[in-house]
């Protein structure tokens, strides 16, 4: 059923694509059905087991809690030890429910967000492909299966961010997100292979029960590689900046991928491998420091942003940092806090993003400076926003409060035991908590509640408009549009009251992270503990910061640009382009003849080396294979026509004699009964000759000065070397020693008919025995065709260098340094070049 669910979601996407959903009013409902079905299936499948596990946890066995609910295995590539295996346990179930549940709400919402957009079907297709990949990712029980789906989420995320492909911002955001997450994916696959090889299995459920992985010599390497993968995916510092850039995606994608699900994939991976890898101080300090920094950077930066979505993006970064920090610890309380944090974050951040989308849709504005008084025109949306934002701020008794209490308490308990790490985490979380309150209040006050939009002192508003009392709503949202965030917020608001029931979900999930049964339970009320006091203090500090927010914003805006991750990344990217240009200048700036000379000489060197090792007499042919009369005539034809090709003055003559060379070679094939080769060679010759005639006769006459003597000598030498290369290679091949060695031809000849079902051995080799080679060849052909298409249709071909040279005097100074290369590169419009001019 697990694999079937993944396939169901994917096929639903394809069906929605074909349905043309933008023309059908019921498409929103229809799209929500498949994820809903998957949600209900997960609940019904796991309900009996979860209820049992809850009872078992209260008793003393607790075996079921950490157990498998469903496991499935499918054959894939057995020769490589690859199999598609899925397993549903507590942690996968929690993630699966979040993915499919929020997926249903987002699917419904999308239909109204993208109304009248004729690419809505395409959006659904990519959204559902993402959902399928994400479900596969959290259900996978094999590292490599997990990786395949992991990459699937990266690719679909790229497509979703770049949905508005005509906007440069969207394209840039998509590119950055993809480079970062796919780069992290490369590190991850290396880490996974090391882990799989070292532990002897790629099955995750076996790896996590294997003891002693932290004592391996390669543990640091495994850890670093996997952490890079997880940190890039989950937007941890120093990779956190791609997430705000990804906000160029349509809002449903931001709410779903870049808040509720995909960015949690890294967290999921860390949680999944927690039992195997966490028992080492490196793990703890790495997660603590990066998670802590991310938490603070995200929380502080969020306040600075005017764009609602950017603010929410940094808030998400901060929350992801919180989760990473929690995973540094091994206590039951910390792991339980992770689980609660994941669910509560999905239930408040998802709706907040959706609300931002509704506001954007209704008013056309997302800038907090220009918004005001939306509570009058969008009352329901305002309530949704208030509930969700208060939950984000961690105000009791909302779900966010439960989550914040759980995490503060787990840090505090750790600190009480005298652990330095506990104090650090506690301090960072308290400070971040204050900022959580600040930006939550900022969001609801500035957009929904305040009486009029104010132009803050010192912050110029580009349009310089007057403060408005209420942002004009030109497009009231239909009730169903608001239904999706409303539902999610309702779930989040009810959740604290149903903690006893939710515990049946939380405990097994935490047990999967711990690798052992968990006996702790979440609670709404912990009593007047020091933790609660700190929590209140943080709220008070947050409110104070909220009142002082303009000062805070000014201070943050004054920070230098060079500190921003995007800017640093762009500089690195420009550097790579510049390096590419330098490399190209030294490797491809040569003439065609020079480059060919390098290649041919490189091929000739091994032959020359071999010739020194071998007695020439050994490879020379014997008398009985000396050429007969027909072959001798052919050889003479070849030599004469080759000589004529070189010496003749007219290009037409050269082409014709080149054709004679080719046909003579074809005749050789005929004499030695290789009809397939002969046919191919002949066709190629015909095509080439005709083509050359067309091109050369119509080109302008060659008025170049005669070639320099030195160059001419070099060309002759290279030609001779290339000839010698071919000649001796054939001799080696036919020599006695080679013939004695086992040849593969026998196998081909005897197996072509019985196993290849064809009597043309050459063809059977091409399409059956060596199909992989042929596949590679036709792929090269396809790429060459695309490259040729680009080259031959580029405007540059129409206007050979003449025009670009005419411009030269204007830039004479600069061009004189590297004249030809510069003019060549100028037309490629590389970013570095563009920024320079």
């Amino acid at each position: 059923m697990l694999a079937a669910s993944v396939i169901l979601i994917f096929i639903s996407g394809v069906i929605l694509f074909w349905l043309r959903p933008h023309e059908r009013s019921w498409a929103g409902w229809l799209s929500a059905l498949p994820p809903l079905a998957v949600t209900f299936w997960q609940v019904t499948a796991s309900l009996p087991l979860l209820a049992g596990s809850d009872a078992a946890a209260h008793g003393d066995s607790g075996l079921l809690q950490n157990g498998t609910i469903i496991a499935e295995q499918y054959r894939w590539i057995e020769t490589l030890g690859l199999e598609l295996s899925f397993r549903l346990d507590g942690l996968s179930l929690l993630f699966g429910l979040v993915i499919s549940g929020i997926g249903a709400a987002v699917a419904l919402y999308t239909h109204y967000y993208l109304e009248n957009d004729d690419r809505q079907g395409y959006f659904y297709l990519t959204l559902f492909s993402f959902m399928a990949s994400m479900l596969g990712l959290v259900w996978a029980d094999n590292l490599l299966t997990l990786f395949v789906f992991w990459e699937g989420t990266s690719v679909t995320s790229y497509l979703l961010i770049g949905y508005s492909h005509q906007s440069a911002v969207a394209r840039g955001g998509a590119r950055n997100a993809f480079i970062v997450t796919a780069g992290g994916g490369l590190a991850l696959i290396a880490g996974m292979i090391l882990l799989g090889q070292q532990s002897g299995t790629y099955t995750i459920s076996e790896i996590v029960t294997r003891p002693g992985l932290t004592e391996l010599d390669l543990y640091p390497a495994i850890l670093v590689l996997i952490l890079v993968g997880a940190f890039t995916k989950s937007a941890q510092f120093p990779f956190h900046w791609w997430l705000p850039g990804a906000m160029a995606a349509p809002t449903p994608a931001s709410a779903y991928l870049h808040s509720a699900t995909m960015v949690k994939a890294g967290i999921y991976l860390l949680a999944r491998l927690h039992p195997a890898l966490s028992g080492h101080s490196m793990w703890m300090w790495a997660l603590l420091s990066f998670g802590g920094i991310t938490m603070l950077v995200g929380a502080v930066t969020a306040v600075r942003h005017w764009d609602m979505k950017a603010l929410l993006a940094y808030a998400t970064v901060s929350q992801l940092g919180v989760l990473t920090t929690l995973l540094a610890f091994r206590s039951e309380a910390a792991l339980l806090a992770v689980v609660v944090g994941i669910l509560s974050h999905a239930l408040y951040k998802g709706p907040l993003f959706l609300v931002a989308g509704i506001v954007d849709h209704a008013t056309g504005v997302r800038d907090l400076r220009k918004l005001a008084g939306l509570r009058r025109s969008l009352p329901v949306t305002t309530w949704v926003a208030i509930l969700a934002a208060l939950s984000m701020a961690g105000i009791p008794p909302l779900f966010g409060f439960v989550s914040k209490e759980a995490l503060l308490e787990s840090f505090f308990t750790s600190a009480e035991h005298g652990a330095l790490a506990g104090w650090i985490a506690f301090g960072a979380a308290a400070v971040a908590g204050a900022f959580f309150v600040t930006y939550s209040l900022t969001l609801i006050w500035e957009a929904f509640l305040r009486p009029s939009s104010t132009i803050e002192a010192g912050t110029p508003l580009e349009e310089g408009g007057v403060p408005v009392e209420e942002t004009h709503v030109h497009h009231a949202p239909p009730p169903l549009f608001v239904a999706a965030p409303l539902l999610l917020v309702a779930c989040g608001t009810v959740a604290p009251l149903a903690l006893a029931y939710l515990d049946a979900l939380f405990a097994p999930a935490a047990a999967s992270i711990a690798g052992a049964p968990v006996h702790k339970h979440v609670a709404l009320w912990h009593g007047f503990s020091p933790v609660f006091l700190i929590s209140l203090l943080a709220i008070a500090a947050g409110v104070w910061l909220f009142l002082k927010r303009s000062l805070l914003r000014r201070t943050l805006a004054a920070l230098p640009d060079g500190l921003r991750g995007v800017v640093v990344f762009q500089n690195i990217l420009d550097g790579v382009y510049a390096m590419g240009q330098i490399t190209a200048r030294f490797s491809q700036g040569y003439t065609l003849a020079t480059q060919a000379a390098i290649v041919f000489l490189a091929a000739f060197v091994p032959v020359a080396f071999a010739l020194r090792q071998i007695e020439l007499a050994d490879i020379l042919p014997w008398n009985d294979v000396m050429p007969g009369a027909p072959e001798t005539i052919l050889i003479l034809m070849l030599v004469v026509s080759a000589y004529v090709t070189v010496r003749i003055r007219t290009s037409l003559g050269a082409i014709v004699s080149l054709g004679v060379v080719g046909v003579s070679v074809t005749l050789f094939y005929v004499f030695f009964s290789a009809p397939d080769l002969a046919l191919t060679q002949l066709l190629i010759e015909v095509l080439t000759v005709v083509l050359l005639v067309i091109v050369f006769t119509k080109l302008p006459p060659d008025i170049r000065p005669p070639m320099r003597k030195l160059k001419q000598t070099r060309n002759v030498l290279v030609a001779l070397a290339a000839g010698a290369f071919g000649f001796f290679l054939v001799l080696f091949n036919t020599s006695e020693a080679m013939q004695a060695a086992q040849s593969i031809s026998g196998f081909f000849l005897s197996n072509a008919v019985p196993r290849g079902h064809g009597s043309n051995v050459v063809n059977v080799i091409l399409v059956d025995f060596r199909a992989f080679d042929t596949m590679g060849e036709i792929t090269v052909l396809a790429l060459a065709a695309l490259g040729g298409y680009a080259l031959l249709h580029a405007p540059r071909v129409n206007l050979p260098s003449s025009l670009s040279r005419r411009r030269e005097p204007e830039h004479a100074e600069r061009q004189s340094v590297h004249p030809p290369v510069e003019s060549e590169l100028a037309s490629t419009e590389s970013p570095a070049k563009a920024s320079e001019t």
Partner: protein, 173 residues
């Protein structure tokens, strides 16, 4: 304007060449032929078309299909490989035997589909280049008529002979 005899030849030869290509493709597995040769044969038919009717007309008729049929060919080849996967490993040949009433005994297999993919890629590749080069050569002709020389004079300001970019003949071929 293409000569009359060329147009006449084209009328007769193009269908013959295309049929020959099909023939070579079908019999390829047992007798000389196959996707590669058939692809080149079909491309030479299109070459004849370009010569006799001009590249503009040919581009208009078959140009739009070229890039997509390259993709189709690759997809067919991969599909043949994946079908083999079901039977054991990638590119494992899978054969079906059909006994048809009129045609008699017919053997079909994934290598045949693979060969069809090869054929599509080769014919589209070659035709794409033929069309592109014909276009460029037409442009070259126009340039010569404009008597605007696209050729660089041997500039003595070049400090390193290795960095020189060859133009004229070399750069366009």
């Amino acid at each position: 304007m293409p000569e009359l005899y060329l147009r006449l030849l084209n009328r007769i030869l193009t269908p013959v060449l295309l049929l020959l290509a099909l023939f070579l493709l079908i019999r390829g597995h047992n007798l000389p032929g196959g996707g590669f040769i058939a692809g080149l044969m079909a491309a030479s038919a299109f070459q004849l078309q370009i010569l006799s009717r001009g590249h503009v007309i040919v581009r208009r008729t078959i140009g739009p299909y070229l890039n997509s049929s390259i993709g189709l060919g690759l997809a067919l080849a991969v599909l043949a490989g994946i079908t083999g996967l079901l039977d054991g490993s990638f590119f494992q040949g899978v054969w079906f035997s059909l006994s048809l009433p009129l045609l008699g005994y017919l053997k079909l297999g994934t290598p045949i589909i693979f060969d069809l993919g090869v054929f599509l890629v080769v014919v589209s590749f070659a035709t794409s280049y033929l069309l592109g080069l014909s276009r460029v050569s037409a442009t070259g002709e126009r340039l010569r008529d404009d008597s605007a020389s696209p050729v660089l004079s041997d500039d003595s300001s070049l400090d390193s002979p290795d960095l020189r970019v060859e133009t004229g003949r070399g750069a366009n071929s």
